[in-house]
Point group: C2
Chain length 736, copies 2
């Protein structure tokens, strides 16, 4: 690999690369000219079948009653969806997993000093929203996988409750040990807040939605507008998701009927302290009663008060008890076997369980998946069966922690490793612009889809509309549709980050925002008034996801390529390298300011100020292994592009190799301290929860100042990239 | 000037310059070694005399009752201050000007649709603040120099009411023509808001203090804390101050007893529409009643509502009538003739009139000036009379528009042009860090003062403490104390920008902020609780201003120098040049986005959006004259530094030349469309009001896209700088 012939190859690649750009044709990637024309015809027929009214009717039905995990109506949803899939010609299985799903038994939050207040913890019905009356069947506001507890202590306001917020508290001499913290939603995934609070010694955690982030500050509140009214409460899981999603009682394996289960008290991914979400109506009296330092400017929300930090004088009691029961999570798996490659699976998924009615989350995405499945089924009946096997999955128990999909993936891991080509996820969607995240090995494949599908209102392609947003926001023009890197928060995680199946997550947004997320008010009525009333963007999503599925299913050569991936990883490597440099410079600068006493000098003598202590200086790291690996990757990616043509000889063998490519970006050992996450390019952040950390081993070691681990992870990542390059080489060899 | 000898001079200057830096001694600038020692002794004696309790007692007395222009207690304040000056050995004159000072007769603001609300327009007494009970003598909330009016119209929320805010309104298809606007205080000087509103066709203007900028969002409100409570109203002038301050009836000349006066209706600097300031208590019902588009995120304040723009459905009536009377503005002028140079005047000033009690504004500054005058007077009695004439001035009628000082300067303009060496201004002051603005010809002189005076709490010099603030806020370390450039907002404007007298504005701040400014609550009680309770920083200000005055008064050679000025002007030239470049690039980019339709594509189809129209492209300007003038200036400034030594021959003649230096930065014609402002380096911005615009002719022509004027002003500024260099050359010649 290090011979002179490589230099010649580079020159060749450069020349051909330019040529290939100029010679771009409209032939679909992975298709011969002839097959491409046929596929384009198929997509026309597919588009012609789509009916917005189906999405509307199904949403109305599926969101008619609360349908959380284990609820009667969730089973009705499952049966309805399964029946539809059957009707459309699929083989349908309902796979049940029995999972831990705690539901609230006792929820008490009261302030006992300096005055008394008992939190209402209720979301009253609102005018014009029939769903909001159905309080009997609904789960009230709670955080799933909070432990039981009964704690009383002084209250401390901790902003978003992130590690950096505690640095600010320390500067003010405030310790949360033995206290109950109140944190705002946002800024991270909610589960990070109790996790960090517990690490800092807090004994309880309250999370509330501030109207600045999620209420009247943003727009008119429900029912006048779509934003969160004073009573809205965001439910949600708080298990340690960045450690591992899935049933806490069966870590790493499927929670099948007879699986060995931990006891709840043995489960490591539950919270360490009790945690409860509340509305801003309930938060206001508590925050108003706080004294102590005024919160930093950036911490202050939109309640009509001066935000103080505490601790106290507000003393609160938080008492929580849960039913620690197993509940059934149903996955509906609809399969249509492929005509040519039945053992190559293209998997589409969207969850069906909701926190309450879930018209937006997840039904808006689920009805798009159903319409896609209906059209694909109809085409099949007309003789256009896909070449590869297509699977349409409606996942259960996503809300408590991606449990349905995770248990299914863990159960079928071996088979999936052999057969899965790609996983395409959707979830809640509304109107605006196409947002698409995914593996950059499929970025080039995805780009033309965004140019083929039109924005339903503006009469330009989705690509053009999305690019306009980039431009008017002062960012650079896109030459290609850019996939964002996937973190977590929906069912792609087990496929992508655990198994290494190339994945997408697709949806529309940007013009339908509101405050209904995980509240009683995520209803059909709200969706019809404020989200995508005519389901125009819902149909556009069917077109995008349908093309993505169908092209992957019918391509003669699987449409992976590696130059987009290489460029993207190259950017990530620059980022982590710059991160280390800036951390080094900032640390040195900060340490000097501390040692020279400037912080103490600048501080207001009338306020408590504890100057930070100097941090360990950041050493220089050896990034050379990464740059060397990147060079090899570039050569191989270019060689692959150069060798690719369709039709190609050995297509079946090539497809086998390509299908497994993403897997070679994983390691069985996984990431440090969280072995479930095996992908070494993309992971949810350990302290962001949903937000992605690319090159996570290296990046998080730098961020967390774990200097020995930085170098270890650089070396590991370099090996992963070298292994990936080797696999590309094998694909090239098949073509030669 | 363009001969080869100049090149030799450059080399020489560079060498000597380095040498002079290395040879820095502790001898005071402008003093011989011997005189310097004597001056240092004098300053020690000065410091030893200072008594914080004087400041305290005088503040208590002077702020005991409301003392606005023309009030009985303002006359008592004047007489008290005059008597004190006399007691301390000064010749004292009370110079009276009879000026237009409208006071409110009728103030009515009511909402008549969609529901009715009558604004309270009152500031109720608060517990623990005796002053707040004295409502009988106090002027209520109003904007001075608003015209009379009785208008009824739909309301439009215009954010801060700045030109850029109207651009946002236009994008939403909203026109304020025939409407009443409601604007937040802040973002500019208040008078800009009705000025711009009238330019846009509005027929009335309401200004309110939003709790985000000035209320509970910032901290606990009065009387619990120092921030603005819901009833606080900021009074203030709204005459067209950036056009010209002073009595509107005697533009450009003194409003002496028999001066020819315009009729009020002929005065051009009154507002064009009626304008009234209100509290956030009174603003809330109006803002709550607005509909129409939701305001952009950056426009939203901290009231517990969704901020809408309107217009309407809120309809409001604003009815205002004023007494258009002449009132006496008294300037107390205390003079101590200099022993050596009686015709070289060092002038200190601070106003005495307040909007209500004015404990902070202006009394906190006035008592510091008084203590300084007392100490200087005592030293004189002990035989240490200053070499130059020192004048301590307590200005009247500053609040309505710098009227007392402006009329005095206009009346004595000829004498001041001949005799004024420098003007040192103070105004409200509290605790924290030294803020000093002024002419950069005195920056080098001022720097050692900030190193000689200690922070009264932190046991380091004022310089060190101020520099610590720069450092901890991520800015570069200061090698010298940096004077900010003076805009407007206090009595230095007539001296500095109208006459061209080198000026300072001095004060402490940063740790005593609150919401009392121009309200009923700017009281002794508030000051003692929240500002500078022990008057420690008040005494520090006496030390700073006293050294500044005394060193200027006693220096053998006036301590001007021109390298700091040259470096500063060089930065300003870079700024305006970069401003032109960035405006050109942004305009081209923006025009392309408009022409390519990206704005329309990106816009939400559910909201009104009117894409902006392309703007005229920004041409390239010839900045060469400025750079050439700057080169000459650099040479002359260096030559001056090289030639300077103390004692020097021809000191009296040199001082005469130096005293007039700043004047050569003015032109009799003044700035475009505002001839009163004659300084060509510093001016208040035409659309900022108080905020400075350096190189105002050039900078504002660029900002306002007046391209022909940009080139004109570049040429004019180059001439001004060349003239200044010639004057430096004359000073050098005197020394040779």
């Amino acid at each position: 690999m290090k011979s002179n012939s490589f230099l010649a190859l580079i020159a060749l690649v450069v020349i051909f690369n330019v040529a290939s750009v100029c010679a771009q044709s409209t032939t679909l990637m992975g298709f011969s000219d002839q097959a491409s024309s046929k596929q384009v015809q198929l997509e026309k027929a597919f588009d012609a079948m789509l009916e917005a009214k189906n999405l509307d009717q199904w949403m109305k039905h599926l969101s008619a009653r609360p349908h959380h995990v284990g609820s009667p109506y969730d089973k009705e949803v499952v049966d309805f969806v399964a029946a539809k899939f059957k009707e459309w010609g699929y083989q349908v299985k309902i796979e049940q997993f029995d999972i831990l799903f705690p539901t609230p038994k006792v929820r008490l939050l009261e302030m006992i000093a300096p005055n008394s207040y008992t939190a209402t913890l209720t979301e009253p019905p609102v005018e014009g929203d029939a769903s909001s009356m159905q309080t009997d069947e609904a789960l009230p506001g709670y955080n799933c996988f909070s432990i039981d507890g009964d704690v009383t202590a002084a209250l401390v306001y901790v902003n978003y409750g992130l590690p950096e917020d505690y640095v600010e508290l320390e500067k003010r001499g405030i310790d949360v040990k033995g206290k109950i913290v109140i944190a705002k939603y946002m800024g991270s995934w909610r589960g990070i807040k109790p996790k960090v609070a517990a690490e800092k010694g807090a004994i309880g955690c309250i999370i509330y939605s501030d109207p600045k982030d999620d209420g009247y500050f943003r727009g008119d509140v429900y029912p006048k507008g779509p934003y969160k009214n004073e009573h809205g409460v965001q439910r949600g899981a708080v298990m340690d998701l960045p450690f591992a999603p899935g049933d806490p009682l069966t870590p790493g394996y499927g929670s099948t009927k007879n699986a060995k289960r931990l006891k709840p008290e043995e489960a490591t991914s539950l919270t360490k302290i009790p945690v409860l979400p509340i509305s801003y109506h309930d938060a206001l009296p508590l925050l108003k009663a706080l004294q102590g330092p005024v919160a930093p400017s950036s911490w202050r929300g939109a309640l009509p008060i001066t935000y103080h930090i505490g601790p106290g004088p507000a003393q609160v009691r938080l008492k929580l008890e849960f039913n620690w029961d197993l509940k059934p999570a149903y996955n509906v798996i609809a399969t249509m076997n492929g005509t040519t490659y039945p053992d190559e699976w293209v998997i589409r998924g969207n969850h069906h369980d909701a926190w309450v009615h879930g018209a937006n989350d997840p039904i808006s995405g689920l009805v798009a998946l159903m319409e896609e499945a209906r059209a694909v089924g109809t085409l099949a009946k007309q003789g256009h069966r896909p070449k590869r096997t297509m699977m349409y999955c409606a996942w259960g128990a996503e809300e408590p922690g991606l449990i349905g999909s995770t248990e299914w993936v863990e159960t079928h891991a071996d088979e999936l490793r052999q057969k899965a080509v790609a996983y395409i996820n959707t979830d809640g969607t509304n109107r605006g612009f196409l947002g698409a995240g995914g593996s950059h090995t499929l970025e080039k494949f995805f780009d033309p889809i965004t140019r083929d599908v039109m924005d339903p209102v503006k009469n330009v392609s989705l690509f053009e509309r999305r690019n306009a947003v980039e431009l008017v926001n002062g960012r650079a023009s896109w030459d290609t549709y850019k996939l964002y890197a996937l973190g977590s928060g929906s069912d792609y995680s087990p496929f992508f980050q655990h198994l290494g199946v190339a994945s997408f997550n697709l949806g529309f947004g940007g013009e339908g925002s509101g405050g209904e997320y995980h509240t009683m008010y995520d209803s059909y009525d709200l969706y019809k008034r404020f989200k995508d009333p005519e389901f125009q963007y819902g149909v556009a999503l069917v077109k995008v996801a349908g093309r993505t599925s169908l092209r992957l299913a019918n391509a003669e050569v699987l449409p992976f390529e590696f130059q987009h991936f290489t460029e993207t990883v190259s950017e990530y490597i620059d980022e982590v390298s710059e991160l280390a440099t800036s951390l080094r410079e900032e640390t040195a600068k900060e340490n000097k300011l501390i040692r020279d006493g400037h912080y103490a000098l600048a501080a207001d003598p009338n306020q408590v100020y504890i100057a930070p202590t100097p941090k360990q200086e950041v050493p220089h790291f050896n990034f050379a292994p990464l740059h060397n690996a990147l060079n090899v990757l570039k050569l191989q990616a270019n060689a692959f592009t150069l060798a690719t043509k369709t039709p190609t000889k050995n297509a079946p063998q090539l497809n086998q190799t390509l299908k497994d490519m993403e897997r070679s970006l994983t390691r069985a050992e996984g990431l440090p301290r969280r072995p479930w996450f095996k992908h070494h390019i993309y992971a949810p952040g350990f302290y962001t929860g949903y937000g992605v950390k690319t090159l996570p081993g290296v990046r998080e070691a730098i961020e967390q100042r774990n200097y020995p681990e930085v170098q270890e992870q650089i070396d590991i990542l370099a090996q992963v990239l070298m292994g990936f390059s080797t696999h590309i080489g094998q694909a090239v060899a098949v073509m030669e």
